[in-house]
């Protein structure tokens, strides 16, 4: 019995070893596409996070903007200016920098909405699945009704209603919160349904019954026993939902009901640039669009891989 050791020691090391030996890590290292998309996602996150410090220009500093630089094409084209890699917009702002700042807004809105949906959905799903009965029936009916309408429409409606209820002067300040709320509310159903489904399965498993026989209280069973066992699918949904939330935000901003033009997200940039498409200044709208697609695609690829990795029978 040489390996007897005080229980509880070396937990971190243990976890790390388990992680590296796990099949998930193995499948990660075996998939170049996944590693590439992880890298792209990481770069996008870092670029967005540190935009104020690493962006070549500050598009919101009016002093540094010169209207004479307006509508310059990308640097490699004939009229390009090496200072502006991807060209400038109609007001002389560096497109590359606005993309970095725009991605920052897109990601913040995306993460905040996912977090909102996740907390709401997982909470309701757990309660619904464990309590059952009328409460469950009610929550699931609401979910059914909401699910029969596309998320984008729900978000649009919430956004529209919020706009008509809130005072007009505060629209721009509140736009961010309204947007997060709208996208967040439109996305909770998926989490709730999945978590409810898993909870129904888990609560009938014998380890939960064993806990009940011991006398453990409901709330403790939910949080300590059931919650950790339903997180796998939630992680997958959250990843894919992040991509959807970023697209939804971009779409709403594109439709003019998202974040205000003073703090443009990628969607706003595309909307603004769209007006110059016909005059030939394609770079103002295409590059932000490209950035959006690459970001969303990378996140989607990660989500896809994660789903397969957590569900080995699919391979």
């Amino acid at each position: 019995m040489a390996e007897i050791q005080p229980a509880g020691s070396n937990r971190v090391g243990d976890r790390l070893r388990r992680a590296i030996e796990s099949d998930i890590w193995f499948s990660f290292t075996r998939s170049p596409v996944t590693m590439l998309s992880a890298a792209v996602t990481a770069i996008a996150f870092l670029a967005a996070l540190f935009a104020p410090w690493i962006a070549p220009h500050d598009p919101f500093d009016l002093a540094s903007i010169d209207l004479l630089d307006a509508s310059l094409p990308p640097a490699w084209m004939t009229d390009g200016d090496p200072r502006f890699l991807l060209g400038t917009d109609d007001q002389g702002r560096d497109v590359f920098s606005t993309i970095m700042f725009g991605a920052r807004i897109s990601l913040v809105v995306g993460f905040a909405s996912v977090l909102f949906s996740l907390v709401l959905g997982v909470g309701l799903g757990l309660v619904s699945g464990y309590a059952g009965g009328r409460l469950d029936a009610f929550i699931m009916r609401v979910a059914d009704v909401q699910l029969s309408f596309p998320a984008i429409l729900i978000a649009l409606l919430i956004d529209g209603v919020a706009r008509s209820v809130l005072p007009r002067d505060h629209h721009d300040e509140l736009a961010f919160y309204v947007l997060v709320f709208a996208i967040g509310v439109s996305g909770w159903v998926q989490y709730a349904r999945t978590v409810r489904g898993s909870t129904l399965v888990e609560k009938n498993k014998e380890y939960v019954q064993a806990a009940r026989v011991i006398g453990i209280r409901r709330s403790t069973i939910l949080l300590r026993h059931i919650l950790p066992n339903v997180t796998g699918p939630v992680l997958v949904i959250a990843t894919i939902h992040l991509a959807v939330a970023i697209i939804t935000e971009a779409t709403l901003s594109f439709l003019g009901v998202g974040v205000p033009p003073t703090t443009p997200s990628l969607g706003t940039l595309i909307r603004v640039g769209n007006d110059f498409l016909f005059s030939g200044d394609w770079w103002i709208t295409i590059f932000p669009g490209l950035a959006l697609v690459v970001l969303v695609l990378a996140v989607n690829l990660l989500g896809d891989w994660l789903r397969d990795a957590l569900n080995p029978k699919l391979r």
Binding site: L147, S148, F149, L153, S164, I247, I286, G289, V296
Partner: protein
């Protein structure tokens, strides 16, 4: 059998009433209806009188009842923005949206479904992997961006296709159609592809996932073990069993095409209901918003009912008399 459908029908009515309640809440309490009807110089007395005459002082339930009655005969009041009956506006815009949605739905279904089946059966094939990669790009491309890219290539650079509007339309009674003129058909190409692409990839991925799920079941294994040819196992046994979930999902997707039309219409300046709605949101034109909400809900509920009927046709377990379900 009728019990199941009757229950679903009652549920649909409850959904419609709930949506009507939201629409009514918008209509009645968001923004003062009186302010939107009268000018600045109307006196308080005149306002009160108008309020009384319009029944705005009645009990909530009476007002709501009246609203439901009006809505059910298509009466949505006046648009604040356009100063015209909402009913007229909608009737003008409805054909454009329905024609666009119909073409897109057919496109999405007829291309997406076979691709889904194919990728499930030839899971490791080269073409399947290609489709899967394309589909991932498909769901990563926001609808509006697809529209913009199409406009850039086929409208601005190549100048092959018109970039906005419906082209020439022919009036058939109150319905206007773009199917009968060359310019109408040409105008339809880019918007319908834009609208269909996202749904197409979704339908393909969902059918593939369901099909793979069914292919793993015991009865498929047993069918193979009885020596049934692969074609029969795949199409007669597997495909039909994927139908139940696929019908649900496809139904939902077709519904969402009408909703996603908002984006496409706004990119292509397509004179449909979605464009009307997005403008209404911008202008806080409540009656139009309420009307759109109710109408869209009606489409969704109708599609869901059709889906339920289809379930019934496909799955004998729903048809079964419960008493014999576990009998010996």
């Amino acid at each position: 059998m009728p019990a199941f459908l009757l229950r679903r029908f009652l549920q649909s009515i409850v959904v419609m009433l709930t949506v009507a309640l939201i629409a009514f809440g918008l209509f009645r309490y968001v923004g003062d209806p009186i302010n939107n009807l009268v000018g600045q110089d109307t006196t308080l007395e005149e306002r009160d009188e108008l309020r009384e005459r319009l029944g705005l002082n009645d009990a909530f339930i009476v007002q709501f009842g009246r609203f439901v009655r009006d809505v059910s005969i298509g009466e949505f009041g006046f648009s604040y923005q356009h100063r015209r009956p909402v009913r007229e506006l909608v009737a003008e815009r409805l054909p454009a949206t329905l024609e666009l949605s119909l073409v897109s739905a057919l496109l999405a279904l007829l291309v997406g479904a076979p691709m889904g089946v194919y990728t499930a059966l030839r899971r490791r094939g080269f073409v399947s992997r290609g489709f899967m990669t394309l589909s991932l790009i498909g769901i990563s491309l926001p609808t509006f961006l697809i529209g913009i890219l199409l406009i850039l290539f086929f409208g601005v650079i190549l100048r092959w296709l018109p970039t906005f509007g419906r082209g020439e339309v022919v009036a058939l009674g109150w319905w206007t159609t773009g199917f009968l003129t060359a310019s109408g058909l040409k105008s339809l190409v880019m918007p319908s592809i834009t609208l269909a692409l996202f749904q197409m990839t979704l339908i393909m991925r969902l059918i593939r996932a369901e099909m793979l799920e069914v292919l793993r079941t015991d009865f498929i294994k047993f069918a193979h073990a009885r020596g049934l040819p692969a074609r029969s196992v795949h199409f007669r046994h597997a495909l039909k069993n994927t139908m139940v979930p696929v019908i649900t999902i496809t139904g939902l997707q077709l519904g969402s095409i009408i909703a996603f039309a908002i984006i496409t219409e706004s990119v292509f300046q397509w004179p449909g209901m979605g464009l009307l709605f997005i403008q209404a949101i911008g202008e806080v034109d409540i009656p139009v918003m309420a009307a759109y909400l109710v109408l869209i809900a009606f489409f969704f509920v109708a599609i869901n009912l059709v889906v339920d009927v289809l379930y019934f046709v496909v799955d004998p377990r729903l048809r079964a008399d419960k008493a014999t379900a576990n009998g010996q």
